[in-house]
C-alpha cells in the first residue's frame, strides 16, 4: 500500500506541476518523437526513474527480480509492450492509475483488456516454461 501511495503521489505531482497525465509509456514515447517543449520534463522524469533504479541496485538489490522468461521471450515482450502501449494510448500508469482515478471509460476498457490478455498469456507462458 505504501508503494502504491507513493506512485499516486508522484503522479499527482506531475498533474499539479506540469498539468500532464503521468503515463510512463507516453512519457518514454514522447522522448522518442520530435523535439517538443515537453521533452525536457519528460527526460527529467525518466532521469528520476533511472535514479530510483540505481539506488535500488545499491541499497536493496533483492528488490530487482531476475527474469522469468528466456531472453528471446523478453525481447518479444518488450516489442509488444512498446507497440501496444503507443497504439492503445497508455499502460498500467496512464490508463491504470490516472485513467481509472479520473473515471475515464476508455481507460476502464483498456485496463480490463490488458488484464485479460495479460492473465491468459501469463497462464500459458507459465505452463510452457
Amino acid at each position: 500500500m505504501l508503494g502504491g501511495a507513493l506512485i499516486g503521489m508522484a503522479s499527482a505531482l506531475v498533474l499539479l506541476a506540469h498539468g500532464r497525465i503521468a503515463g510512463i509509456s507516453g512519457i518514454a514515447g514522447g522522448v522518442l518523437q520530435r523535439a517538443t517543449p515537453d521533452r525536457a520534463w519528460r527526460l527529467a522524469f525518466l532521469g528520476g526513474l533511472v535514479a530510483a533504479g540505481v539506488v535500488a541496485a545499491i541499497a536493496a538489490p533483492a528488490t530487482i527480480g531476475p527474469p522469468v522468461r528466456s531472453i528471446g521471450a523478453v525481447l518479444v515482450a518488450g516489442l509488444l509492450v512498446g507497440f501496444g502501449t503507443r497504439l492503445g494510448d497508455g499502460c498500467t500508469s496512464g490508463h491504470g492509475v490516472c485513467g481509472l482515478s479520473r473515471g475515464s471509460g476508455r481507460s476502464l476498457v483498456a485496463v480490463v483488456t490488458f488484464l485479460t490478455t495479460g492473465a491468459i498469456t501469463a497462464m500459458i507462458a507459465g505452463r510452457l516454461s
Binding site: G4, S11, A56, L79, L100, S101
Partner: protein
C-alpha cells in the same frame, strides 16, 4: 530568456525529476520490479499473489483524491498555462487492440514500461534488453502512425476535401 524564466524552467525540471524518483521508489517498494511477482499476480492458477491489486488500489485512491482537489482548486499547473488531460470518451479499435497487445507483452515478460526502466537502470541485463525492444516497438508504432496519417491526408486530397 529572462532570469525568472530560467529559474522556473530549472524548477520545472527539478520537480519532474523528483516525481520520477518518487514514482520509481513506489514501484520498487511495491514489488513491481520483480517479474516473478507480476507473473504470479496475472496467473491465479499458480500460487496467486494478489498484493499488486492493493498497490493499484492504493495508487488510485491517492491519485483520485489529489486529482479531484487539483481540478477543483487549482486554476493552472505550476509550470504550464493549462492542464492537458485527455477528454476523449469514444471507444475505438486501436484502444482495444493496443491494450490487448500490451497485455500479452506484460504477461509474457512480467514488466510494464515504468518498472522496466527502473530495473534496466539497476543493471539488470534482461530488463535492458526489454527496454531496448520496447523503444523499438514504440518507434515502430510512431512510423505506422505517420504512414496512416499520410494515407489519410492523401485520401482527403483525392476526394477534394
Amino acid at each position: 530568456m529572462t532570469a525568472v524564466d530560467a529559474r522556473s524552467r530549472a524548477a520545472a525540471i527539478a520537480m519532474a525529476a523528483l516525481a520520477g524518483a518518487l514514482f520509481g521508489a513506489g514501484l520498487v517498494i511495491s514489488g513491481m520490479t520483480q517479474p516473478a511477482r507480476i507473473a504470479h499476480f496475472l496467473d491465479p492458477l499458480d500460487g496467486w499473489d494478489p498484493s499488486l491489486a492493493f498497490v493499484m488500489a492504493g495508487a488510485v485512491a491517492v491519485y483520485a483524491a489529489c486529482h479531484a482537489w487539483i481540478r477543483r482548486r487549482v486554476d493552472r499547473p505550476w509550470f504550464d498555462i493549462r492542464f492537458h488531460v485527455p477528454a476523449r470518451a469514444d471507444m475505438d479499435r486501436q484502444l482495444v487492440a493496443g491494450a490487448a497487445i500490451f497485455g500479452v507483452g506484460w504477461g509474457l515478460g512480467g514488466l510494464c514500461p515504468g518498472p522496466s526502466v527502473v530495473a534496466a537502470a539497476s543493471g539488470n541485463t534482461s530488463a535492458i534488453a526489454f527496454v531496448l525492444a520496447m523503444l523499438a516497438g514504440m518507434y515502430l508504432r510512431h512510423r505506422t502512425m505517420e504512414r496512416d496519417g499520410a494515407a489519410a491526408a492523401a485520401r482527403r486530397h483525392r476526394s477534394g476535401a
